[in-house]
Symmetry: C2
DNA sequence: GTGTGTCATGTAATCGGTTACACGGTTTTT
DNA sequence: AAAAACCGTGTAACCGATTACATGACACAC
C-alpha cells in the first residue's frame, strides 16, 4: 500500500486537487461542504502531505539545521532541548549534525544541507568566514554561535572574555593568588576568549598565570586535576573553561586529598544542571543555556521570514554570563561531608537552588 | 542570486540535464570529456542538488527521524551522538524531535515526518502499537527502542528487568537488606521494567520492598535522597532507576551526613560518563549507550534498504546490561576524602576507568 | 555498402505538491 | 434588465531532480 497523495484525496472527496490544497492550508475560499468532504477523505486515507514535494514548490522546508562541534556533555543537550522546544512551537523541524573534526568536514555538512533546511545555526568553531561563504551560495540564512563575532553577520555570542574576568576577579577578591586556568581545546573560539579573559584579569591583578590544557570534557578536567594536585606550590584556585572540566578537576583534587574550597577554590563556566548538584556546589558563570537555544532559534526564524527585506539583521547579540557563587569558591561556607550539623544551612540552600529542570523552559 | 539548478549546470557545461545527473550520481555511461565539463560547471556554480526535488523523484530522503521523550541528561546526548556518527558515515541526516508530553503529541510528530524521513527510531514511551499503526500508513520502517517489546516489530530493548535483578542480587550478596528503589516516571516502560525487576528480586530474597517515585532527573533523585536520609530505619542501599537519579540521591545522602558506601550503598543504571567520575564512583549497569545508538541506526538503515523484501526483520534485539562495580556499593573499598594514603589504589583505579570519551567511538 | 550492435547523449514524463488564472454561477449595482 | 462584482472551483504550469526511452554516431561484420 503506497501512501496517499493529494490526488487520491481529491478523487475520494470528489473535488479538485486545488481545493484539497486550499482546505489543508487554510488558504483561499472554500465552502463548508467541500471543507468537510476534504477533511473526511484526508482522515480516511490518513493523508499527510509529502514534505519534499511541498518544499519543491514553496521552496520552504520548515526545517532548521544545527551544526555542532560535538555532542558531549550537558551543554549541547541543554541547548538542543531549548531549540527543539522553540522549533516545535514554531512548526519547524530540527536536523542536527555534529562531530566535525575540521573545517572541510563542517563545510561539507553545511553544503549537504542545501535545499534541506531554511536556515542554519552554526556552533562549529572550525568555520571561519571564508568557509561559510563557500557553503552559502543559496542565500541560506545563517545564525552564528561559534564564539567568533563575524562582523556583518547575525550572531549570538557569549561574553566569554567578560565572564572569565568576573571569575578571576571573584577569586582574587576572596583572597586567592595562585589561580590556574584549565583551558578548552585550542582552536575553539569560546575557549580562547575565556583564556584571554583569564590572562587579562590576572595581569591586571599583578598575578602570575598558569594554564593547563583541556578539551572541555570531564575526563580532561579530571586529568588536569590529577596533575594540579601534585603540583608544588599548590594552586589555591582553579578556573576551568567549562563546568564539565571543573567537575572533573574537582573530583580529582578531592581524590588527591585536597579540600574544596578550603584548599582550592573552583569555578566553572556555563552552569549546566550538574553544577548545582555536585558537592560542594560549583561556582560558575551562568548562561541560561536552554533559554539561549530557544532565543537563537526564534531569531533565526525571524531571519528566515525577513529574508530579502531591506532591514537586515546583522547585529551581534551578546549574552552576558552571570556569576553564581556556590560553595566551591566560598571560604565562608566550608563543606565537610562528615559534619552534619554544620552544613544544615548549606543543605537547605542546595535544595532551594536545585533547578526545577523540567519546568525551566515553560 | 538564486541557487543554481541542474539546468543551469547543464547549460553552462553545454550538455543535457540527464548527463549532469549521470555524472553527479556516478550512474550511467559518460565520456571523460563530458564528465569534466560537468564537474567544472558544477564547481563554478557551487551547485548542490536540491534534496526536496531529489526525494520527490527517488522517494528517498537520506534522512532518519528520532522520536525522543526528552533530551535531559547525558543518556540521550550520548545516544544521539552514537546515531549521528553512524548516520554521517552512511550518508544520512538525523532529524530529532523530543519533549512529547503525551501519545497524541508523539503521534503527531511521527505523522509530520512523512515524506521527510526514510525511517524512524522511536524512543518515546507514550507510543503503544495502536498509535504507531495510526502514524504508519506510508510503510515507513520503524525501529522501536521504547522498552516495549512490540511483537512482530523490529526493536531493540535493554534487558531492564534482568539488569535490575543483577543490581539487587549484588546488593543482597554484599550484605544489604533495607534496599530502596527510586523509580522512574510511571508510564515509562523502561522505568516499569526496572521496577518490576527490583520487586521480583527482592521478593525472591525474601526482603521487604520500598519504592520512592522519581522522574529520571538528577533533581528528582536528589529530592528522593533527601527524604531517604531522614527515614527511620535508614535504608542501607539505594537502587536508582538511572544514573542521573543515583547521582542526585548520592549527593543528598552525603549532604545528610551519610557515608557512601559504608552507611548506604548506591547503584544506578546506564553507565553515563559521569558515573565513573563522581565520588565515590557509581556502581551501575553498563549499557554502551553511544554504541547502542550506532547499532540502532545501522539496523534501521538495513531495514530501509531491505524494505519490501521477503526476509522481514522483526527480531527483538536484546541489550544485556553489565554490572560495573565501583566503590559506591563496595564495602571493601571505603572512600573518605580526607584519608589520602588509604585510597591511593582507588584513585588509580578511577583514573584507569575514566573513559577516553573522545576516542570511544572511533 | 548495407545491416547490426554498442554507446554516449538528449527528450520528455514523472514524482506530489502549490498557485496563477480561467471559468461559470450567484448576488449586487446602476 | 444588463453590467459589474464576487466567489467557489477546476485546469494546468511550475518547482528541480531522476530515468525510461529515443536518437544519432560510429565501428565492425557480412
Amino acid at each position: 500500500m503506497k501512501a496517499a497523495t493529494i490526488r487520491d484525496v481529491a478523487e475520494r472527496a470528489e473535488v479538485s486537487v486545488a481545493s484539497v490544497s486550499r482546505v489543508l492550508n487554510g488558504a483561499g475560499p472554500v465552502t463548508e461542504a467541500t471543507r468537510n468532504k476534504v477533511l473526511e477523505a484526508a482522515r480516511a486515507l490518513q493523508y499527510v502531505p509529502h514534505s519534499g514535494a511541498r518544499s519543491l514548490s514553496t521552496s520552504k522546508t520548515q526545517t532548521i539545521g544545527v551544526i555542532l562541534p560535538d555532542l558531549y556533555g550537558e551543554f549541547f543537550s541543554e541547548l538542543i532541548r531549548g531549540m527543539d522546544v522553540a522549533a516545535r512551537s514554531l512548526g519547524y523541524h530540527l536536523i542536527v549534525s555534529s562531530s566535525h573534526d575540521d573545517a572541510e568536514e563542517a563545510s561539507a555538512a553545511i553544503r549537504s544541507m542545501r535545499g534541506r533546511v531554511d536556515g542554519l545555526i552554526v556552533l562549529s568553531p572550525h568555520l571561519d568566514a571564508a568557509n561559510l561563504a563557500a557553503g552559502l551560495a543559496g542565500r541560506t540564512p545563517i545564525l552564528l554561535m561559534n564564539g567568533g563575532a563575524a562582523a556583518g553577520r547575525p550572531s549570538i555570542v557569549v561574553d566569554n572574555h567578560g565572564g572569565a574576568v568576573l571569575a578571576v576577579e571573584h577569586l582574587v577578591a576572596t583572597g586567592r593568588r595562585r589561580i590556574v586556568h584549565i583551558a578548552g581545546p585550542a582552536g575553539n573560539l569560546e575557549a580562547e576568549a575565556r583564556l584571554a579573559g583569564y590572562l587579562q584579569a590576572m595581569a591586571r591583578a599583578g598575578l602570575p598565570t598558569s594554564v593547563v590544557e583541556g578539551e572541555f570534557t570531564q575526563a580532561s578536567g579530571h586529568a588536569a586535576g590529577v596533575a594540579l594536585a601534585r603540583r608544588e606550590p599548590r594552586p589555591d584556585a582553579v578556573f576551568a573553561g567549562n563546568d564539565n572540566m571543573a567537575v572533573g578537576a574537582m573530583l580529582a583534587l578531592q581524590d588527591g586529598g585536597l579540600r574544596i574550597p578550603e584548599d582550592v577554590a573552583i569555578i566553572g563556566f556555563d552552569d549546566v544542571p550538574i553544577a548545582s548538584l555536585v558537592r560542594p556546589g560549583l561556582t560558575t558563570l551562568r548562561i541560561h543555556i536552554a533559554e539561549t537555544g530557544r532565543s537563537a532559534l526564534e531569531r533565526l526564524v525571524r531571519l528566515i521570514n525577513a529574508a530579502g527585506e531591506a532591514v537586515a539583521d546583522t547585529a551581534c547579540e551578546i549574552v552576558r554570563p552571570e556569576l553564581v557563587v556556590r560553595p566551591s569558591s566560598n571560604p565562608a561556607t566550608p563543606t565537610e561531608a562528615s559534619s552534619v550539623p554544620s552544613n544544615a544551612g548549606e543543605r537547605l540552600r542546595a535544595l532551594a537552588e536545585t533547578p526545577s529542570l523540567k519546568g525551566e523552559n515553560s
